[in-house]
Symmetry: C2
Amino acid sequence: MYRTNTCGELNESNIGQTVTLSGWIQTIRDKGFMIWIDLRDRYGITQLVFDEQRTDKSLLEQTKKLGREFVIQATGQVIERASKNPNIPTGNIEILVEKLTILNSSLVPPFTIEDETDGGEELRMKYRYLDIRRNPVKEKLIFRSKVARLVRNYLSDLGFIETETPVLIKSTPEGARDFVVPSRMNPGQFYALPQSPQTFKQLLMVAGLDKYFQIVKCFRDEDLRADRQPEFTQIDCEMSFVEQEDVLNTFEGLIKYLLKETRSLNFDKFPRMTYAEAMRRYGNDKPDTRFGMEFVELNDELQNSGFKVFDDAELVVGINVEGCAHYTRKQVDELTDWVKRPQIGASGLVYVRYNEDGSIKSSVDKFYSEEKLQAVIKKAQAKPGDLLLILSGAANKVRPQLSALRMELAERLGLRNPEVFAPLWVIDFPLLEWSEEDNRYAAMHHPFTSPKPEDISLLETDPGKARANAYDLVLNGNEIGGGSVRIYDKDLQALMFKLLGFSQEDAEAQFGFLMNAFKYGAPPHAGIAFGFDRLVAILGGQEVIRDYIAFPKNNSGRDVMIDSPAPVHQKQLDELRINVAKE
Amino acid sequence: MYRTNTCGELNESNIGQTVTLSGWIQTIRDKGFMIWIDLRDRYGITQLVFDEQRTDKSLLEQTKKLGREFVIQATGQVIERASKNPNIPTGNIEILVEKLTILNSSLVPPFTIEDETDGGEELRMKYRYLDIRRNPVKEKLIFRSKVARLVRNYLSDLGFIETETPVLIKSTPEGARDFVVPSRMNPGQFYALPQSPQTFKQLLMVAGLDKYFQIVKCFRDEDLRADRQPEFTQIDCEMSFVEQEDVLNTFEGLIKYLLKETRSLNFDKFPRMTYAEAMRRYGNDKPDTRFGMEFVELNDELQNSGFKVFDDAELVVGINVEGCAHYTRKQVDELTDWVKRPQIGASGLVYVRYNEDGSIKSSVDKFYSEEKLQAVIKKAQAKPGDLLLILSGAANKVRPQLSALRMELAERLGLRNPEVFAPLWVIDFPLLEWSEEDNRYAAMHHPFTSPKPEDISLLETDPGKARANAYDLVLNGNEIGGGSVRIYDKDLQALMFKLLGFSQEDAEAQFGFLMNAFKYGAPPHAGIAFGFDRLVAILGGQEVIRDYIAFPKNNSGRDVMIDSPAPVHQKQLDELRINVAKE
């Protein structure tokens, strides 16, 4: 062992002891007659001291060779510090060094190893092993491992069995794009990496395992949006002989436990909201309920007054932005431009300003009497000093637009406080959504999700109306988990595949093993999966997941540190019997 | 919830209660006037009873539709059982059923769902979801999850941080063959799946994480020998500022803890043996020390007596098979054929039989006087009734041959008792081994293993003689873990790559990121990895790992249940810009 103690544990009670520490040099302060070194390891920082009076001359000379991030081993006596530092646990002591060994040297690092660094994202990722030396990053990785441990112990104590499912599986075109792996032993054939262990966990229920979980890597070959990773980690769970209510209660328990253990927060029952209600009140199936600014539907108040834009719209809907009546014309114009960007796609933005003095000003006041605008203000429960922002159009278009504006304003107004936690169950999702691209229904959750029993008859008549026993857990406007009660009847499963446009042959080829399993006594079962990267980030008070991943990939799916992906030797491709296609 | 209780928990204290159980029908015994059903779930079996006197007629009728492995829900009163079954926890009670719901039907399963099944390996794997319903398989999966939890909690309590390393990494030709994954976003480039997180865990040490572990899937595209899997699970560990002794002590602690928690066995310090000694005494670097039969070197006793085979051999070496002097000529001939098979490759087998009456008989007694054979017997410490079996040849050939014979005899003689546990550290492995195929040295462990400091000078003069700070943990003749002190000096690492035949460019292209990291203050570090599948199997008293894996692959790397690998759509290949090569 290169040390008797870590750099984070010595204090007054150790004064007089001779200790050996090892670590990295954080800083060197050289006053000529006296030298202080801050020595850092994972556990903290301890001050080393050398001085002309007490330190051997050759040892003092040796310190001249040292530099930032050198790895050293130092032996000496713990002494009381003259000028104490109350900000760190070791701040009352220092080590009067008697022996110094340079274990390794270091080039000057490309960015400062400090809580606030001067290194940009790209540089920090290329030298991720230096980035992780910084406290904020290191603490996030430690936090992640702590949360994983809490999850495992909580679920294990409830009788869940952590079971590893295979990584080399089979490609299924449903859902996102698969990563595939050519099989050398089976030329022309491929494994796929799992997008989730969905079918395997269902098979484990057929197998009678009763309660399964796994913290597991999953893979999606998607074009990466910001803060999406091609490989990500899920808490994957499944239970048998349960109904939706049992799943919600079990995993509400898990999340409550995590909020208590990591944030010291106690929650009563989590609120629930149907998908339809979430869309109506927030225009979003994962509403951030840390703040209000709920949707106010204004068709009754604003239609049939001659303003054609509103009169022709399916839905006229606004939000009341509290205390923002003071927004200038320029600010409102900027917001108008913001919602008109192609990413949002609104055609315009109407405002109704309820001034502090009680007067009302609107961009459309030539169409509306003061009385009508008063009715709008009343419906919106606006107070003097508030600003109403209103969009109109087709309901399924305008709701997401207004939701985006609501979130943007909340961001600007500082309403998205990462220290506040607002969990919410969203339930009763639609079973199917119409895919314009493929001209067929697609599963909103996945093809194994059970319709609500009372909606099964709709599958034959009006499938788009059928609701699913599917649920999402939303935390602070992020979907942190989602799941469903599964189909366990082979005939209903076959009907689902048919609705989703699978030929019988395709369904058989891809999911035959599951449908076959359903012939041998499948129990009723249901489950859920949590996005572990995001859950950890949100519990950590952040929304960016990248720093909670030890070695993340960039938006092109590259690991810039190891420079991967990369070409492979032709010999490898020959063995796999594949070729890279010519351009 | 479809149940108030599980099938494993009801007993006399519940008599009189009305309960609801759900599960699978294990057996139906129909006496006409009385019907008993054994209902099974993960937790146990509970007997349901229906009889003419007490059960509603329509309910009795309903039972006629039931069959093996049907999934049912039954509600009724817990009553005392007339004929008790002391072998199961629920054996004193039964449920007088009042309400019965068929949750799902089942075809007749293709093999019996019993502890001893009539299903062969292939069939069981195809219907793995039925196989897992069998107690012995289910219990193995539960045992596995228990061991994983023990490992995690033990290491976490010691301050190890479980850190996920990436699965999509970069191919390196050193070691076994990689599975590769074409990158759609980077055409012509490939990720590789990790054979181990070796370089990443070393980078985490450079990053200052100090103590890392991970239970992690790894991948090797090898031609599969029996009981090898293309994807397997490792307990991967690394520590900073430690020496070999610290690693051995830390992980000896882990394995002791597992032996205590899973087998109630207490161990004192594990014995240690150098590689050289293990080869000399057992002809094997993972000797099974549950039994003796150690090698006896007989050059002094048996050379220079005119038996040319022995006289010309580098090594004459035997084992004393206790109590086997009674082996017939036929049995010895059969053993001779066994060692002459190409897999073993010995040219012959010499025996010296020390009969119960003190007389000696040998296949080569025309070359040796009674006195000389007495000397052999003395050297081997044989007792009357023992049988000596002797091989000869080049030391590096004959030792593995005799080791194979020793293990075969131990198997036949029942000396490999799975209830006995013999851990052993094998240390001081050679750093390099000569590869005849590539006409260069290859790393015996991997290219990051540190030579023993006292052997570094040998690297320039006689590299084959250099020993490594490398160690294996052997349990019952299986290598369950292996590791090493790592190189942390960039110049020594560069020298190693040179010895291994890497050009500077190749070393840079493949391991540049690691050698670069070593320029920024790499700490001394060391680690170990355990084969989790095998460790669990051995702790479970078995040697076959397949049943400890929920969904294993067969020897062709196929998952016969999901029928994978499989061809993929041409569209997928087009997107990935790869082609399957023509034959």
